[in-house]
């Protein structure tokens, strides 16, 4: 019988993509095992042929800074059974949300750029936009916490035995 796989998406919004890099580094030791357990429905950093449909677990890195990203995150939530915030920007908004704390004068100085690129007035952690199921904090994400969360969903979706 063919091994059932966890259908995952890896998404990135406003951030430095440090957790994406950590994830690609975790492939060094885990790829042989993960290749049997994970189906990448969406991972722009790894492949061109991506889809936001029928996702078991969406891992979302980065904060939400514009209306286009807000709409995409809502779409991801609609099409994913679970959503996990990955890294500090997704979990707390920090440090991508520097501009939230700028002085009035500095905010006025950047307003023309916010207007030009459809950026929202505040940069938000993803749970301010959609409900989330888990968080992997850290800047970059803490690897053991990610592995624990992944293991939890591999069991929940019946990919590995729940022992």
């Amino acid at each position: 019988m063919e091994q059932k796989k966890l259908k995952i998406g890896w998404f990135s919004f406003s951030c430095c993509e440090d957790s994406t890099i950590m994830f690609t580094e975790m492939l060094n030791d885990n790829w042989i095992n993960w290749s049997k357990l994970l189906e990448f429905r969406h991972a722009r950093v790894l492949k061109a042929n991506n889809t936001i449909t029928d996702i078991d677990v969406a891992f979302v890195e980065g904060a939400i800074a514009n209306s286009k990203d807000r709409a995409e995150l809502i779409e991801i939530r609609k099409n994913s059974k679970r959503v996990v915030a990955i890294g500090s920007c997704a979990c707390t908004g920090i440090p991508s949300n520097h501009r939230n704390l700028f002085s009035k004068q500095d905010k006025e100085a950047i307003q023309y750029l916010l207007d030009r690129f459809g950026m929202e007035q505040a940069v938000l952690p993803i749970e301010k936009v959609v409900p989330i199921d888990d968080k992997v904090p850290g800047c970059p994400m803490v690897e053991p916490v990610f592995l624990k969360v992944l293991d939890k969903y591999l069991k929940e979706f019946g990919i590995i035995p729940n022992t």
């Binding site: 951030c15 580094e25 790829w31 790894l46 006025e108 750029l113």
Partner: protein, 453 residues
């Protein structure tokens, strides 16, 4: 064929960060090409103002996850220069090693995970056929080489991403003899894997030539942290003067500005470095990559990837050499005297020359700064290359034309997270430097007036 065609590629894949490409073809001629860096600005140049200069390194490390070590070290160098702080020879050596670790990991990520699928006509490295001996080997080599670079960076910096150990003036910890022996063994173990990597990218059938204007640091041991800035247009200047030669071009449709040098677009990165500085590569690299080095200097943009492979081999050889021949001793961190000043930091990040100018007040608080990253410097060159590439291939079917564009973008190894950190340079106002700013206005997307100060 005199066709009309509009192509939009949203979110180019297998690159670092987000970018779109818009192409307009009318009557068989390329009318417009816009490379829109769509990564949201995070305004780091404004955010660093008001922060203590000692925390700058860790802050700017967060500009980019993949080349965080380059931002960290460049920010630290700028602060040290602002404070007039001299660093020890051992610190210089440790920083060279940290950069070699970064190059090995980062170039391996780009070559194997981003570029190799194009060569094998696959969507992803993860789709490589495990029963095919070469493809199986490639997947193994990708992860082994990346891991060796990661481990070298971790030994020196404490972590490969946002390394905690580098500080203003030194390192919080130095590697132990046991750690060094372990890394030497690992580097020697993965070195033979570079043969297949070099051969693969040397035999890459893709070719594209247009511009021949290159800028890079040059030095006598092909390190990535110091030297003179040299260009094929005849510049050879101390690194601290580089900012005076960068002309800022505002690109209204992109989240990043572009740059020219001497009025011309130019290219920074591995191809520029190997074209200009191959004679300084490690002797073992020159010996074992001799047949591939004959291909340089090259104006083929896809040789950027072969140059990256050569730099991976050099990073391994130079690291082994240093680690086998250096005795590291504990050094106390200096206690810098805080004073007002302006400092420049310049180094070669994996994607090209990185420039920091930081101004510190008498209380140690940052009062201003400029950060110029490689991808922003390459932006105009890349867009001009794309225009020529599309015109040269104007009769290709739409999907094939799109793929050609994506291949070329990936060959540059752009990093959009880096490119969009800033607000806008105002050097004339803040630093009294003779930088030019040129507005690249687009009739379809005019630049709104800036608010009056």
């Amino acid at each position: 064929m005199h066709r009309d065609l509009d192509i939009t590629i949203n979110n180019v894949s297998k690159i670092e960060g987000h970018t779109d490409l818009e192409i307009k073809i009318k009557h068989g001629k390329v009318e417009d090409v816009k490379l829109r860096i769509t990564e949201n600005r995070r305004f780091y140049e404004m955010a660093i103002k008001g922060k203590n200069c000692m925390q700058l390194g860790q802050m700017v490390s967060r500009i980019c996850g993949t080349c965080s070590i380059a931002h960290l070290l460049c920010g630290i160098e700028a602060v040290e220069n602002a404070l007039g702080l001299k660093i020890s020879d051992q610190v210089i050596i440790l920083r060279k090693l940290l950069m070699y670790g970064l190059y090995l990991r980062d170039h391996a990520l780009h070559l194997y995970l981003f570029m190799l699928p194009d060569l094998f006509n696959k969507d992803s490295l993860l789709e490589f056929d495990d029963t095919d001996p070469i493809q199986h080997q490639m997947v193994h080599d990708a992860f082994a080489l990346k891991k060796a670079g990661n481990n070298l960076s971790t030994m020196i910096g404490g972590r490969a991403v946002h390394a905690p150990l580098p500080m203003v003036g030194g390192f919080a910890k130095i590697p132990t003899k046991a750690e060094i022996q372990e890394i030497i063994s690992e580097l020697k173990e993965v070195r033979p894997l570079m043969r297949l990597c070099l051969k693969t990218f040397a035999e890459c059938p893709f070719k594209f030539e247009r511009n021949a204007h290159y800028v890079s640091l040059t030095n006598d041991d092909f390190n990535f942290i110091d030297g003179h800035i040299c260009s094929t247009s005849g510049i050879c200047i101390p690194e601290k003067e580089y900012g005076n030669y960068l002309e800022t071009i505002l690109i209204p449709y992109s989240q990043s500005a572009g740059y020219k040098v001497r009025g011309q677009d130019f290219l920074v990165g591995a191809l520029a470095r190997v074209n200009q500085n191959a004679a300084s590569l490690h002797p073992n690299t020159k010996k074992d990559a001799a047949e591939y080095l004959k291909l340089f200097p090259s104006n083929n943009v896809f040789h950027n990837n072969l140059a990256q492979a050569i730099e991976m081999l050099h990073s391994i050889d130079a690291s082994i050499d240093i680690l086998e021949n250096t005795e590291f001793k504990p050094e106390p961190l200096p206690n810098p005297i805080i004073k007002e000043g302006e400092g420049i930091g310049v180094l070669e990040a994996p994607r090209g020359t990185l420039f920091y100018r930081i101004r510190v007040g008498g209380d140690g608080i940052i009062t201003g700064g400029d950060i110029v990253v490689p991808t922003a410097q390459n932006q105009i060159n890349l867009e001009n290359d794309l225009k020529k590439l599309i015109q040269d291939n104007i009769n290709l079917p739409e999907a094939a034309l799109q793929f050609e564009c994506e291949k070329l973008i990936r060959a540059y190894d752009p990093c959009m997270s880096c490119a969009c950190h800033f607000l806008k340079l105002k050097w004339v106002d803040e630093f009294q430097q003779p930088n030019k700013q040129v507005d690249q206005q687009s009739p379809s997307c005019p630049l709104p007036p800036e608010p009056q100060k």
